[in-house]
């Protein structure tokens, strides 16, 4: 039995390797022929212009306030265009959505696809050998429709369109707004009860932390289980410690700056301070539980993006909270602004069966009334001059005089970089007490070593 199994395995392997090689009969070898999506309402390519019934297929991820907005919006859309049915599919925003995106694009079975961000980081000359972001590969493969010149694009600020979804001078998507995530949510009641002000410098911040601790209140909460939410705070430090993040990143590529530079060490040390002053068990908090931790009043501040304000508000409408940039520097001017990113964008697939309907959908969405409602639901900072009377957003305005991109929107990584510099590169979660590395210096040295090892040869 044993011998036979080995024999069988070997011979089959050989057979299939031969068969596989022979089977590559010169086509470009990837799934390019879309299957007929059997029941999707007999859509034809030029649909929508007539009164033919079509089904507009949209994929998106689960984000409750935004999903609710779209369900309402889709109803209105169908009222306006009775011949267009909307199939709006949402799945969890983790790998499930990535997988859905991948398979739907492969099967050409969607008209509108949501991308998790704007087009970032922009590929740069100096970052040789870097992997291209997935949106770029899609565009290069001719999968995404060029929206330049469509009327509805003009409903958004030209600079925002330029900075978010323009690539090679063409507009390939509609970005829905900006979010900021380099600040901390704070509980106004706890601050007021303890006579605390929003800190403007790092020293003021540590005083706030000390006061809270002396009163027995846990100062900080992070969603450490998912790691990236803690990294938002680290990016906040980075945005305020560095004078020019983009230049620093470029320097990392050409070797003129290093992860072991004093500024990086400072960021890591302060990140370690944040960890040391977080509530017990913060590393076990998953992102979906973070708002509840904040709402329950167990912590005075949490690191999170402004996009979560609607969720916090819906969790407890009576809770008073605000948001301020993490003051990583002792220069108050350096700390006076928030950084962030362009959040979700909509793209139309080039081979979509219902392009016309998709464009109508985007056009209707761009109308000021609808867009204003979207902004209200999502908590995004608008890409158009719509008036939103939202006290939370109004409070942010002083911090947003000029919109800065955060570290992870600028950073371009080297392929196969080790885990201490992987992804968006700064991994303070490896520091004690959360992780196994004792000091910022050790982590910085390790990061630089791995960064060098991944250098293009």
């Amino acid at each position: 039995m044993f011998k036979k199994l080995v024999l069988l395995g070997l011979s089959l392997t050989v057979i299939f390797m031969l068969a596989a090689c022979g089977g590559n009969n010169g086509n470009n070898g990837s799934a390019s022929n879309p299957p007929d999506s059997g029941s999707s309402g007999s859509a034809s390519p030029d649909s929508g212009s007539s009164n033919e019934k079509v089904t507009l297929k949209i994929i998106h991820w689960i984000n409750e306030p935004v999903n609710k907005y779209y369900e309402e919006f889709n109803k209105k859309f169908t009222e306006k265009y009775p011949n267009i049915k909307v199939d709006y599919v949402t799945v969890p925003s983790d790998a499930t959505y990535d997988q859905l995106q991948q398979t739907r694009i492969n099967a050409n079975d969607a008209d509108l696809v949501a991308l998790k961000s704007g087009f970032a980081p922009i590929p740069q000359e100096w970052a040789k050998g870097a992997e291209a972001p997935v949106w770029k590969q899609w565009i290069d493969a001719g999968l995404i429709m060029d929206l330049s010149g469509q009327d509805f694009v003009k409903n958004y600020n030209a600079t925002d369109v330029e900075n978010s979804t323009t690539y090679n001078g063409k507009v390939y998507g509609i970005n829905m707004g900006k979010v900021s995530f380099t600040g901390l949510f704070y509980n106004k009641k706890i601050f007021a009860d303890n006579g605390l002000q929003v800190p403007k410098t790092w020293d003021e911040f540590t005083k706030v932390v000390d006061t809270l601790k002396s009163k027995g209140i846990a100062p900080l909460g992070f969603a450490g289980k998912d790691i990236w939410p803690f990294n938002l705070a680290v990016q906040g430090l980075s945005a305020t410690v560095h004078k020019d993040q983009a230049a620093f990143i470029k320097g990392l590529w050409d070797g003129s700056t290093k992860f072991t530079d004093p500024a990086q060490i400072e960021i890591l040390s302060k990140a370690q301070y944040l960890l040391q002053n977080a509530i017990d068990g913060t590393m076990g908090v998953d992102y979906a539980s973070l708002p509840s931790l904040f709402i329950s009043g167990k912590v005075a501040m949490i690191a999170d993006g402004t996009w979560n304000a609607p969720t916090i508000k819906s969790g407890d409408p009576s809770l008073e909270f605000g948001y301020f940039p993490i003051p990583g520097s002792n220069d108050a001017a350096q700390n006076a602004s928030l950084a962030g990113k362009y959040d979700m964008s909509w793209m139309v697939l080039e081979k979509a069966k219902n392009k016309d309907a998709a464009l109508k959908w985007l056009a209707m969405q761009s109308e000021p009334d609808h867009y204003a409602e979207f902004v209200k639901a999502s908590g995004f900072l608008p890409n158009a001059d719509v008036q939103i009377e939202d006290p939370f957003v109004n409070e942010l305005k002083p911090y947003l005089q000029s919109f800065k991109l955060a570290w992870d929107q600028l950073f371009i990584n080297r392929p196969n970089a080790g885990e201490h510099v992987s992804g968006s590169s700064v991994h303070a979660e490896f520091l004690a007490p959360a992780g196994p590395i004792k000091t910022p210096d050790e982590l910085a040295a390790l990061s630089q070593k791995e960064w060098d090892a991944a250098a293009p040869k």
Binding site: L12, P35, E64, R104, S296
Partner: protein
């Protein structure tokens, strides 16, 4: 065999301990399910204040389970029935060596247990064959006759005397008739176990339907679970209810089948 009192006490103590390890987490799930979100946030571990069976109704509506459950029933029953039938079609001649290269085919099928994950080529193939986004296409992809049920059938049938075939054939019983009329009732324990194991896989499948079925109207019950994963805020009590709703049909099926489990497993261990 005679047994001392202390060893009996020891045995019960061990079993009791293990029971705690298994029952307490499940009880905790129920405990969470009986709370309101606020109650859960305030005291996640404390005992629930009162029975809130209404949570199940809320979860049922919010998860839109009534929309999906029939799809799940369809997929699970069809693929399970087909897989079991095909396993039997494969196992019987191989166990009896009624076809040539029986051993080799057996080994070939056994390999299905550890082949590398075929997800991407399988998706490509399914698209090419027009199986994508069709209900029967998905069911076809999930149907197979080579899994663990097949192995158990082979093991079990080997333990059934071959004289039975010969006697039946003498009476003029045909091959198919023999399988359905005589073999079927005989292999009941394996059948039950195989049904259980196959049904578990199909019923709990999340990735498959997400990839292969794009229309919302084709989604199975696991899709309903998504309603409770807010991107930003999970409603744990309702999620717990949703989980229990999804698990309930299988647990009911299991309660009917569990008494066959041991004899079914026995068959599987006759020969690997």
């Amino acid at each position: 065999m005679a047994e001392s009192k202390s060893s009996a006490v020891f045995r019960y103590a061990v079993v009791l301990f293990m029971l705690c390890v298994y029952v307490l987490p499940l009880f905790y799930l129920f405990n969470v399910a009986m709370k309101t979100q606020i109650e859960y946030l305030k005291s996640p571990i404390g005992l629930f204040e009162q029975f809130r069976f209404n949570n199940f109704r809320t979860a049922w509506n919010q998860g839109d389970f009534s929309r999906y459950i029939w799809n799940s029933v369809l997929y699970t029953s069809v693929t399970t029935a087909a897989s079991i039938l095909l396993s039997l079609f494969a196992a019987f001649p191989i166990a009896r060596r009624y076809v040539r290269f029986s051993n080799l085919i057996y080994l070939f099928f056994t390999m299905s247990l550890f082949l590398p994950s075929p997800l991407v080529p399988q998706f490509w193939l399914a698209s090419q064959l027009g199986l994508y986004n069709t209900q029967w296409g998905y069911m076809l992809l999930r149907t197979g006759g080579t899994g663990i049920a097949f192995l158990m059938f082979v093991g079990y049938i080997k333990s059934v005397s071959k004289e039975l075939d010969e006697a039946a054939a003498m009476d003029g019983c045909g091959y198919l008739r023999f399988i359905f009329r005589i073999l079927f009732p005989l292999v009941k324990p394996v059948l039950a176990t195989g049904v259980m194991l196959t049904a578990i896989g199909v019923w709990n499948d999340i990735i498959g339907p997400t990839i292969y079925l794009s229309d919302t109207k084709y989604q199975p019950i696991t899709k309903g679970l998504f309603a409770f994963f807010g991107q930003y805020l999970n409603n744990w009590p309702l999620l717990a209810c949703g989980i229990m709703i999804i698990a309930a049909p299988l647990v009911v099926l299991y309660s009917f089948i569990q008494r066959y489990l041991v004899s079914g497993a026995l068959a599987g261990s006759v020969k690997f």
